[in-house]
């Protein structure tokens, strides 16, 4: 009995110790299960620039900003009681003139779970549940003023459709207001477990208000800290080293970290001859110079072209002529291009930490591939394969269907002809201040006048944006035999392409570091083998001694 008890203790101890290492992965906050019901897959929302996007995709990716786990279901596929097991119900309804699915309407009218009703059909719910302290007053396109957190935005001609809701009691909490200059209605209204979004906006000011109010809906109160990632865009074999170094000097003097968006190879559209940065030592030198001054390399495709277009102009992962996915197997194609790009970088002692799809264009299958190779994707989201369009998200998202981590860009860049200038960028940044923990990006082409860059930097700083350093955050890239990781501001590389050439401080140190890490690993492995062999020798000795003792015992008995 006693022996059994102590054996048990021993086994428990061993189990605890052996499983101890896995405990870490079980930690972390639990995810909130969320059901998103949306009205029509064929109805693409039209955003301010007239591009078409699948709103359900934008929305479910956006929820990755919170501790959520999202299931999406089409309205006409909704069955009785489907909302069981979910903590929140979101209903996205952008289409006028129809009746809401009866089963859904009934469940939503009766449930005590938080319901977020986005858009059309509110009057039907107010009919089905007449306890709700709101009255539907019709629809209007003239409510062009939006007020939120004591700031007023004038939408002018692009006011968009608004559903007019009148609160019937003090129990209704209002988040943001819309006004036509005379009458005022809530933009968002909350009564008990019901939340209503009255503006049919999927990208503008009203949408940003909604994005911010999601923090209240989920009860997740993130910090008031707005980050911007500054990118030096389309750095390629044909970039001017002088420009690159000038930019690095300026940003370094301002202590502003930045991203180097690198296209490692170039195919001459006339001759078809391929050239990579390897052939341009002066460009490599300039990029390293940038890295030493706070730059972090992000891979921007392999050539930034698929057909015979100019590098930086062409699309690499999308057929821009037919406006459809390329006729390739994305599972192989993406991996091949990424591997080639990464290897050119590694050969030259550059360590990309994230990926930015050229023109933000990516087929849905492509996202699935990228997720395997990159911890971090930056840029905008393409929501559908039906046609090319991309949208930013208002903040960082993690562990969604398409991304491990996505850092959106929404401020834009200065176009060559000045059609989209600094003013527009700062204007966007001003709107984005609506969101308490906005994350965004802004980019600048190295051939542009430096003055624009200075204006952007100073403008964003004065608005309170913090320039984020991608290189200081944890990222990884894993493809083929290559594994790049950034941790605590250090970049570690494991794989066969260790750069041996004499280089300047920053880059060289990283290589030494990796070499050191590798030798620790090798020595530890040798040690393990050595110890293993000795353990075997000990076991042999044990049995040898045992056997002899038995013999002696027999001898003694015989005597």
């Amino acid at each position: 009995m006693k022996r059994a008890a102590f054996l048990l203790v021993f086994i428990i101890l061993m189990t605890i110790l052996l499983t101890g290492l896995n405990v870490a992965s079980l930690q972390g906050e639990s995810l909130k299960p969320i059901l998103v019901v949306y009205d029509n897959p064929n109805l693409l929302s039209r955003d301010h620039s007239g591009l078409l996007n699948d709103f359900s995709v934008i929305f479910s990716e956006q929820l990755g900003h919170f501790n959520t786990e999202v299931d999406v279901v089409l309205e006409n596929e909704y069955k009785d009681g489907m909302l069981e097991g979910y903590q929140y119900i979101f209903y996205l309804s952008l289409r006028e003139k129809y009746s809401v699915n009866r089963a859904l309407l009934k469940d939503i009218a009766e449930t005590a779970r938080p319901v977020v009703w986005y858009g059309e059909g509110i009057e039907e719910l107010l009919n089905a549940n007449q306890n709700i302290h709101l009255k539907f007053r019709g629809r209007s396109k003239t409510y062009h003023l939006v007020e939120y957190n004591e700031k007023v935005f004038n939408l002018g001609q692009n006011a968009g459709i608004n559903l007019l809701l009148e609160p019937l009691s003090e129990e209704v909490v209002v988040y943001g207001k819309v006004s036509d200059g005379k009458r005022v209605y809530p933009l968002m209204a909350n009564w008990k477990n019901y939340w209503f979004m009255s503006g049919l906006d999927t990208s503008g000011v009203k949408y940003l208000v909604f994005s911010d109010v999601l923090h209240e809906i989920f009860g997740e109160y993130h910090s008031e800290y707005r980050k911007v990632y500054l990118r030096i865009e389309d750095v390629s074999p044909i970039s001017s080293p002088k420009n690159l170094m000038e930019i690095a000097d300026y940003l370094y003097s301002k202590k502003i970290p930045f991203i180097i968006v690198l296209i490692p190879a170039y195919i001459n559209p006339e001759t078809g001859v391929e050239a990579s940065i390897t052939d341009k030592p002066e460009v490599i030198e300039a990029v390293r110079y940038m890295v030493e001054r706070g730059g972090t390399v992000v891979l921007h495709g392999y050539t930034h072209q698929h057909y015979k277009e100019e590098t930086g102009e062409g699309f690499e992962f999308w057929d821009a002529f037919e406006d459809r996915p390329l006729n390739v197997n994305y599972a192989d194609y993406v991996g091949e291009r990424v591997l080639k790009g990464i290897e050119i970088c590694l050969e030259n002692g550059l360590y990309p930490l994230a990926f930015e799809p050229p023109h933000y264009a990516m087929a849905q299958d492509g996202y699935r591939e990228l997720k395997k190779y990159f911890s971090t994707v930056i840029g905008q989201l393409q929501t559908t394969d039906r046609r090319f369009a991309s949208v930013p998200l208002p903040y960082e998202v993690r562990d969604t269907k398409r991304f491990n981590r996505f850092l959106p860009e929404s401020l834009g860049y200065v176009e060559l002809d000045g059609s989209y200038g600094v003013e527009n960028i700062l204007n966007n940044a001003g709107k984005l201040l609506i969101v308490r923990d906005a994350v965004t990006g802004v980019f600048f082409h190295p051939f542009m006048d430096m003055e624009y860059l200075e204006q952007i930097v100073e403008g964003l700083e004065s608005m309170g944006y913090v320039f984020a350093d991608l290189g200081k955050e944890d990222n990884w890239v894993r493809i083929g035999e290559h594994y790049i990781r950034s941790i605590e501001g250090n970049i570690l590389y494991e794989g066969p392409l260790l750069k041996k050439e004499k280089t300047k401080s920053g880059v060289k140190e990283e290589e030494k570091k990796s070499a050191f890490h590798r030798s620790v690993e090798i020595i530890a492995t040798f040690l393990a083998v050595f110890v293993g062999v000795n353990i075997l020798r000990f076991i042999i000795i044990f049995f040898k001694v045992k056997k002899r003792q038995k013999k002696i015992l027999f001898k003694e008995r015989e005597l």
Binding site: F10, K513, F538, V545, K546
Partner: protein, 434 residues
């Protein structure tokens, strides 16, 4: 730099721990080889004695009424010519029946001498009592037993046989076993621990470097050497370890007694496991803690005395041995603590260790190594290499060994506190008998 501070701590711990573990692998192999050597023909060594020298056996006793009778009888019954040895029991300030029992025993044994020491002269500890006995000793050799010992009948003969054959040996140390090992789980642990210590550390070091340490009981030493050293150091808490170092040092400096060949080679202390005594080990954790705290503090004293004189120590191998002691108490202990902290922070997910490697495998291997080395040591004693003991060893790693960490930290704390307060008194740290 490319390494985080946690990486450095981890490397420090990894290197310190594995240097010690690798050293112990060699010790364990050597211990086994020494066993093979000694036990091929155990009787041969006895036949080498032609004449039995006169030996004085010293037994210091301080309130030992529970055990002294049995000890005296066991010593008297040893297989050694009665006219060739005397037993001196130093009854140091006993307030119990020790004196009466000894008086009774003197009626039976003419060669039992009792020195009764009273306050204020007495009560100054084991070393002082031994020195008192040494003054009256007539023997050419001095043997020492603790008051709770039951030596085997042949123990003294083996000790004598070993020492007379080699003038280079200053002292020969026998083996001690645990008499009450089946009492409870603690005594079983101690039984395993003592076998591990003796077969790995003592036998291994003897085989590899001709070094071993006097453990305080069941040893024989030349009186001439003790005289020249001025006896035991009454200030040391563990007078035996301290004596060992002085013996090694002295032999090197001056030795005119023997031939020139020995001069410059120095004396040695030999571990000789054929001489066996059985002693009583603590049966409660409280007593265990008290006794071991004394040992650890004694070792801290020795390290403190000699660490900064390391370079001036003539025999480099002894310097290395002191360094080994130091490593156990400082490097190894701190490494264990660091590696525990790293392990916990890994589990909590707050670690920023960037180093990778088969470290979990190494941890498992370290554990297996511990189990197999101890099993080998235990298995060298007939009947001890059983499944029960192997399971106990497996358990020891997580229990008994962890208690040692606590114990050592506590001893450091106490030594530090005493040093701060300037306390230096040595008195009887007596282990309670059962």
């Amino acid at each position: 730099m490319g390494l985080t501070s946690m990486d450095f701590l981890f490397l420090y711990a990894l290197i310190s721990i594995w240097i010690m573990l690798l050293y112990h692998i060699f010790l364990a192999f050597s211990g086994y080889r020494y066993h093979e050597e000694v036990y091929t023909d155990p009787e041969a060594v006895l036949s080498a004695i032609k004449e039995y020298p006169f030996v004085t056996i010293l037994v210091p006793a301080h309130n030992e009424e529970k055990v002294i009778g049995r000890t005296v009888r066991a010593i008297m019954n040893m297989d050694y010519p009665q006219d060739k040895f005397e037993l001196i029991v130093i009854n140091d300030c006993s307030s119990d029946r020790t004196g009466e029992i000894l008086q009774e025993l003197q009626k039976d044994y003419y060669n039992l001498k009792v020195i009764t020491v009273l306050p204020p002269e007495g009560g100054k500890g084991k070393a002082a009592a031994l020195n008192r006995g040494l003054r009256e000793a007539k023997g050419e050799y001095i043997a020492v037993y603790d008051a709770d010992n039951t030596p085997e009948r042949m123990a003294l003969r083996y000790l004598v046989a070993a020492i007379v054959q080699n003038p280079q040996l200053a002292s020969v140390v026998g083996k001690f076993r645990t008499r009450n090992k089946d009492r409870n789980i603690l005594t079983r642990f101690i039984n395993i621990e003592t076998l591990g210590f003796q077969w790995i550390s003592q036998a291994g070091r003897w085989k590899l470097f001709n070094i071993s340490t006097i453990p305080g009981t069941n040893y024989i030493i030349r009186k001439s050497i003790l005289d020249r050293l001025g006896g035991w150091n009454e200030k040391a808490i563990t007078e035996d370890t301290e004596l060992s170092i002085r013996v090694y040092e002295m032999g090197y400096r001056e030795d005119t007694e023997f031939s020139m060949e020995i001069y410059g080679l120095g004396y040695k202390i030999k571990f000789f496991p054929l001489a066996v005594t059985w002693e009583q080990e603590p049966e409660t954790w409280k007593v265990w803690l008290k006794q071991r705290t004394r040992w650890v503090r004694g070792n801290i004293y020795v390290i403190g005395e000699y660490l900064f004189k390391l370079l001036s120590i003539k025999r480099k191998i002894i310097a290395l041995d002191i360094l080994y002691f130091f490593s156990i108490y400082f490097l190894f202990l701190s490494s264990i603590l660091i590696s525990d902290i790293i392990f916990i922070s890994e589990v909590l997910g707050i670690s920023n260790l960037t180093l990778r490697g088969p470290f979990f495998v190494l941890w498992v291997l370290a554990y297996i190594l511990f189990v197999i080395e101890m099993t080998i040591a235990v298995n060298l004693e007939k009947g001890e290499g059983n499944l029960k003991n192997i399971l106990l060893i497996a358990l020891m790693y997580f229990t008994y060994c962890q208690m040692w960490i606590f114990l050592t930290l506590r001893s450091f704390y106490l030594s530090f506190k005493d040093r701060l307060m300037g306390i230096k008194t040595v008195k009887w740290y007596k282990t309670e008998r059962f």
